[in-house]
Amino acid sequence: MVELPNLREYEMAKYLLLKHYRGAPAPVNDVPMARWTQEEITAHVRYMQDFAAKLEGTGEFVDGQALSPEGTWVRSDGEGRPPVTDGPFAETKDLIAGWMVIDVESYERAVELAGELSAAPGAGGEPIHEWLEVRPFLSEAPTVTE
């Protein structure tokens, strides 16, 4: 008889690695970037670029983007009227700085990569050890369900 692994437990899945300007617990190396030296900033940027390039090489990279911290709140004000805008609100607790999307074999792999990304160098060339949020994407519905 053919030995078969448990097929449904495997699912290649996409995860969002979310970086917060605010709203995450404080990182270990908690010095804001504006107070780093030029060399420290260069080292940080290079680390992020190398990380993305490495993931492209392993076939796990999907997307990476950084966001401007300034944003606007928008809501509909009813049909035929322009949307209402407001803000930015400086007091908003949570603020997203950017993200990376990865396509990996397991949740454990997603956590491993987030850990690596969190170790990007900051002040003093030491790892920042910042908190990143790991969120799974909702997938396409599988063909076989019952």
């Binding site: 053919v2 495997y10 492209e56 997307d63 396409e140 019952e146």
Partner: protein
């Protein structure tokens, strides 16, 4: 000639090049280049012998690539000159490619990507679109996979179970982008079944056909998921069901049961019934017992609890459920369904909402949210 007929030829052509001494990765690249040319040239001048044409052009592409690459000069010396005639029987080559692309040293995602390219003949762009990743990422995944199997000899049969696992993963991905992966998986499994007498190959093919037959009925006109009990069974594809049943019976008659045959038997029992009320749930429970025995899969246990609920009543289903780990995917959804059948609508509404919260895909989340909303509105 349509594209899938063209792609049927891919593994045989790669096999012929490999027999001539070309390494697998280079042969695969050359055949991809030949395919691109075929798509361009054939509509105007269809060849009399499509396979011969592809072999000739792929061989030329390979030689071009060797000449262009100085670092490959030593290999050029070995393969330059008149090629040997292709082997009379190519199906062995095709099978060898299936085994190579599903080699145990590959991760499932790599095996899937390599199979779709080298056996399926899809382009990297098509595979990338189907899996919603950038083309560069998929290209890297494929070239890493090729490197991983570069030392593996192509003439040895492997474990057909690993091949079936890869084909099942492709099938279960459904379809997004312009490639229908379910149809592609069926095409590749049919091709495999033509060359391998292992009954589980028939089991998997039957399972795919029987599920594919229901596809049109699974999604409503508004894009929402339609559960089995509510599907319009007139929209099931009776030709696919008939084929699936014949394939399954042939597999079962070999008397070597496996997981896919047992799962296909369950799908066949569903296909055979005019409604859930007329479904032979007692037999379905027995088949789930077989799946559990064969795999020990907790997911199969969960499905079994649903079937027990239909065969012996919701209380029996809940009792079967109580023995399982509440952390299983879809546990809350099954619990909600059984509680509703048992008349406990408050618990059912709470569990449907909980199930929606932990659903791993959008269609299921929407379906479960609607169930919770339906009960709350009562």
């Amino acid at each position: 000639m349509n594209e899938s007929v063209l792609r049927d030829l891919v593994p045989a052509v790669i096999g012929i090049l490999v027999r001539r001494g070309v390494d697998f990765a280079a042969a695969e690249d050359a055949v991809q280049d030949a395919l691109v040319e075929a798509v361009r040239v054939w509509p105007g001048e269809p060849p009399r012998d499509p396979r011969g044409w592809l072999v000739t052009v792929a061989w030329r592409k390979f030689l071009d690539a060797v000449r262009a690459d100085v670092s490959r000069r030593r290999r050029e010396e070995r393969v330059e000159g008149e090629p040997e005639p292709g082997p009379a029987v190519v199906s062995d080559d095709t099978l060898a490619l299936y085994f190579l692309c599903a080699h145990p040293s590959l991760t499932p995602a790599s095996a899937v990507a390599l199979t779709l390219r080298a056996v399926g003949g899809l382009t990297t762009r098509q595979i990338a679109q189907a899996y919603l990743v950038p083309e560069a990422t998929m290209a890297q995944r494929i070239s890493r996979a090729k490197r991983t199997v570069s030392g593996v000899r192509l003439d040895r049969a492997g474990d057909v179970g690993t091949v079936l696992r890869v084909l099942y993963l492709v099938f279960n991905e459904g379809y997004s982008g312009d490639v229908d992966l379910a149809a592609e998986a069926i095409r590749l499994t049919r091709q495999l079944a033509a060359g391998v007498r292992e009954p589980e190959v028939g089991g998997l093919l039957a399972l795919m056909l029987l599920h594919h037959a229901r596809r049109a009925a699974r999604i409503g006109p508004d894009g929402r998921l339609v559960p089995l009990a509510e599907q319009d069974r007139r929209r099931w594809d009776t030709a696919l069901i008939a084929e699936g049943v014949v394939v399954l019976q042939a597999a079962l008659s070999r008397d070597r049961l496996g997981e896919f045959q047992a799962q296909a038997a369950i799908a066949a029992l569903h296909a055979d019934a005019r409604s859930t009320g007329e479904t032979d749930w007692v037999q379905i429970v027995e088949w789930y017992d077989e799946v559990v025995r064969l795999t020990g899969s907790p997911v199969a246990e969960l499905n079994r609890a649903v079937a027990v609920g239909e065969a012996d009543g919701p209380r029996a289903g809940l009792a079967a459920l109580a023995r399982l780990d509440a952390g299983l995917p879809r546990y809350a959804a099954v619990a909600a369904y059984l509680h509703e059948r048992d008349g406990d609508l408050v618990a059912a509404a709470r569990l449907y909402a909980e199930a929606a919260r932990v659903a791993s895909n959008l269609l299921e989340r929407e379906h479960l949210t609607r169930q919770a909303a339906r009960l709350h509105a009562r």
